[in-house]
């Protein structure tokens, strides 16, 4: 139980959730709910790992992961934006499709060793006391990217003109269309970007955080947790980043709880009977539910939260509600 180790590892695992949930935030802010995150992440994890295995270059793996998941997400865009199908069902089928494709195409990858992303210290910042060793030492480049990414996306959404268009399309597409914003094109675009980020998150797992291909266990529901985080974060990338890191640290802390024989002077039941670990493994899922309850209550109280047009197909020429 070393706080520094827990926080350090928590940042690495949290980065997975960070990219996945920010990707989902972008799609949802444009009005498209994409429940296929788990499937896209798994496909990304598979594509990234297998390309890195074939080429020896983990960066090519990252690119492949983003493209694969992005292309998969376009299926969702076609079905929901153009065909106006139900976004919930389409997202669910995207998870099935992504999972199935990843398992079929990833057959034989288990047990292989691919080239992984390098970890390095951020020169200068790593010398800082306390903060340095946790935040800026021995992390993969994706983690450092995440630090910048969340504030940048927040700035983009809230303070720039394209960001305003994004919000308009998600809140009131009729108005955006009237102003000459191409609602369909933007929705396609942000669904694709969301897919790419989910793919990046997946590849971060298989090429850095817990390297390797363990079929469906690779993601083990983190895509769903990312979607839960979006609601908890009330569609704000900064809050999503905070939530992601908290969640990451928590997962890591839970893992460490099984180690020591005593906790605070008491016998550690987990040390004696490791089967109690099953209850510990439930905690992230239960906490997601708790986070949702908190997020939903806050949203009800403050009357803010979801983009107004979330889940609604836009049909040009039909009366906007």
């Amino acid at each position: 139980m070393n706080l520094e180790v827990i926080l350090h590892a928590g940042l690495a695992t949290g980065t997975i959730l960070l990219f996945a949930s920010i990707g989902e935030i972008l799609a949802e802010r444009s009005g498209v709910l994409n429940l296929g995150v788990e499937g896209m992440m798994l496909l990304g994890a598979m594509a990234g790992f297998s390309v890195s295995l074939a080429t020896g270059n983990p960066w090519l793996g990252i690119v492949a992961a983003m493209l694969a998941a992005g292309l998969l997400s376009l299926a969702h865009a076609v079905v929901t934006v153009s065909f106006q199908a139900d976004q919930v069902v389409s997202g669910l089928s995207l998870t099935f499709l992504g999972t199935g494709l990843a398992l079929v195409l990833g057959n034989g990858l288990t047990g292989q060793n691919a080239a992984l992303l390098p970890n390095f210290d951020l020169a200068g910042l790593s010398a800082l006391p306390l903060v340095g060793p946790v935040f800026f030492m021995n992390h993969s480049p994706i983690v450092y990217l995440g630090y910048l990414f969340a504030p940048l996306v927040w700035f983009y959404i809230e303070k720039t003109r394209p960001g305003m268009h994004l919000r308009a399309v998600g809140e009131k597409p009729v108005a955006a269309d009237t102003m000459g914003v191409n609602v369909y094109a933007l929705r396609y675009g942000y669904v694709f970007v969301g897919g790419c980020l989910a793919g990046l998150a997946g590849a971060t797992i298989s090429l850095s955080v817990s390297p390797g291909w363990y079929s469906a266990q690779t993601t083990s529901g983190q895509g769903w947790i990312a979607i839960g985080l979006v609601i908890f974060a009330q569609w704000n990338p900064l809050r999503a980043a905070l939530g992601a890191f908290l969640f990451g640290a928590l997962r890591r802390a839970l893992l460490d709880l099984q180690g020591p024989s005593t906790l605070l002077g008491f016998t550690n039941p987990l040390f004696i009977n490791s089967n109690f670990g099953f209850f510990l493994q439930m905690v992230p899922y239960l906490l997601t539910i708790l986070a949702l309850v908190i997020g939903s209550r806050a949203a009800m109280r403050k009357r803010l939260g979801a983009p107004a047009a979330l889940g609604e197909p836009y049909i040009r020429g039909e009366r906007g509600l």
Binding site: L35, Q84, A85, V89, G100, I231, N275, L292, G317
Partner: protein, 390 residues
């Protein structure tokens, strides 16, 4: 090119090359023909198999060989067909569970967890034991059924309550509870009920087994080796019950009304919060019964992986069946076959992949129910009505 504004000629392609016809997409104003929904479902399945075949060919398998093998392994003999029906049984119940909830646009995707908790509660009857171990099967089996349904209903009640009370998104909560349910079962089978250290409970007594066809092989030699169990009748009976509830009862009317138009339901004085909880419980109870039928009819103990994802397949079953109970039975048999077949081939994700394609095809094809797409001969392009092209 973003397609499908109402009554608009999609002329992008025509503008580039002068085709002798144009594609006309217009909103349906008349009733959808009765045969069309079924036709789109069948077409979706066919399309999904074709696309999956292309993927299989791309990874070096011979799709025709794979599908031929599928067909023989699932419908090739009475024994194979019986196996298919055994796999279809939980799918019927879970498919019905999803249909009921989806009818109200309540997205219960926690049937998998409700299945596991149903199995757990049914096991309590035998393993605690709640009933004397030498009870008559006439007492044992109904008790297990009731407990299975109770467990599933409880696992549906939690997200239902959160949804009704705090408007918590039920998709995520039901999904998270799936993981919790599996871990909960694991604790009991790894620890408390472990049979000599194996990750399963001891085999249940005969009095808690659902009767199988092969039990009657002495009287009817034809039945020898057939694994089909009584649970299939639970499925058929539940389908009839769900049909009656949805189509004939006042409650079903409220469910459909909320699904179609929650605003109107609210104005009509229908309590949405109450229906959310009750429907989640009904849905959970059906999935829990599926879990009970699986351990009592097939594995005869509680163990790991009693479900190869029945709860998730049930979602596709419900959608492919257009939420119709009779359709659920037919689609379940097809998907039961897919599960039987996929046990025998590698790689293991093939069935899941085909399911994904089926679901995608079927939701895409819904567009055919809302729009008419016609080829028309190219006439001299008339000027569009004003305001039609923005």
């Amino acid at each position: 090119m973003w397609l499908l504004p109402p009554a608009r000629v999609v002329s992008a392609a025509k503008a580039m090359i002068n085709l002798p016809f144009t594609l006309l997409v217009e909103k349906r104003t008349e009733e959808v023909p009765r045969w069309l929904p079924a036709a789109t479902s069948v077409g979706s399945v066919v399309l999904a198999f074709v696309v999956s075949g292309i993927v299989l060919a791309a990874i070096g398998a011979n799709p025709l060989q794979v599908y031929g093998f599928f067909a023989r392994a699932t419908f090739g003999s009475w024994a194979a067909f019986s196996d298919t029906l055994v796999k279809a049984t939980p799918l019927i119940l879970v498919g019905l569970a999803c249909s009921v909830a989806f009818k109200m646009k309540l997205w219960n995707i926690g049937a998998e967890g409700q299945f596991y908790i149903g199995a757990f509660f049914a096991s309590l009857v035998v393993l605690v034991p709640l009933l004397p171990t030498d009870s008559s099967p006439w007492l044992m089996i109904p008790a297990m059924m009731a407990m299975g349904m109770l467990g599933g209903a409880l696992w549906g009640f939690l997200p239902g309550l959160l949804k009704a009370r705090f408007q918590v998104n039920e998709i995520i909560t039901t999904l998270m509870l799936n993981y919790v349910a599996v871990l909960w079962n694991n604790f009991w089978i790894f620890d408390r009920w472990s049979d000599a250290g194996f990750q399963m409970t001891p085999t249940f007594g005969r009095n808690s087994w659902l009767p199988r066809l092969s039990d009657y092989a002495r009287e009817y030699p034809l039945f020898s080796g057939l694994t089909l169990h009584l649970g299939v009748f639970f499925g058929l009976f539940a389908a009839a019950a769900v049909w009656w509830i949805l189509q004939r009862s006042r409650w079903g009317y409220e469910i459909r009304l909320i699904g179609d138009n929650p605003q109107a339901a609210r104005y009509a004085g229908v309590s949405i919060a109450r229906n959310v909880i009750w429907v989640m419980m009904l849905s959970g109870a059906l999935a829990g019964l599926a879990g009970m039928a699986e351990i009592s009819g097939v594995v005869h103990r509680l163990q790991e992986r009693i479900s190869p994802g029945y709860g998730f397949t049930g979602i596709i079953v419900a959608w492919l069946a257009k939420l119709h109970p009779l359709g659920v039975i037919l689609v379940s048999i097809l998907f039961g076959a897919l599960i039987v077949a996929s046990r025998e081939v590698q790689p293991s994700g093939i069935a899941q992949m085909i399911q994904g394609f089926v679901l995608f095809a079927v939701i895409s094809s819904d567009v055919l129910l809302r729009y008419k797409i016609r080829l028309v001969r190219a006439a001299p392009q008339p000027a569009g009505p004003p305001g039609e092209f923005a």
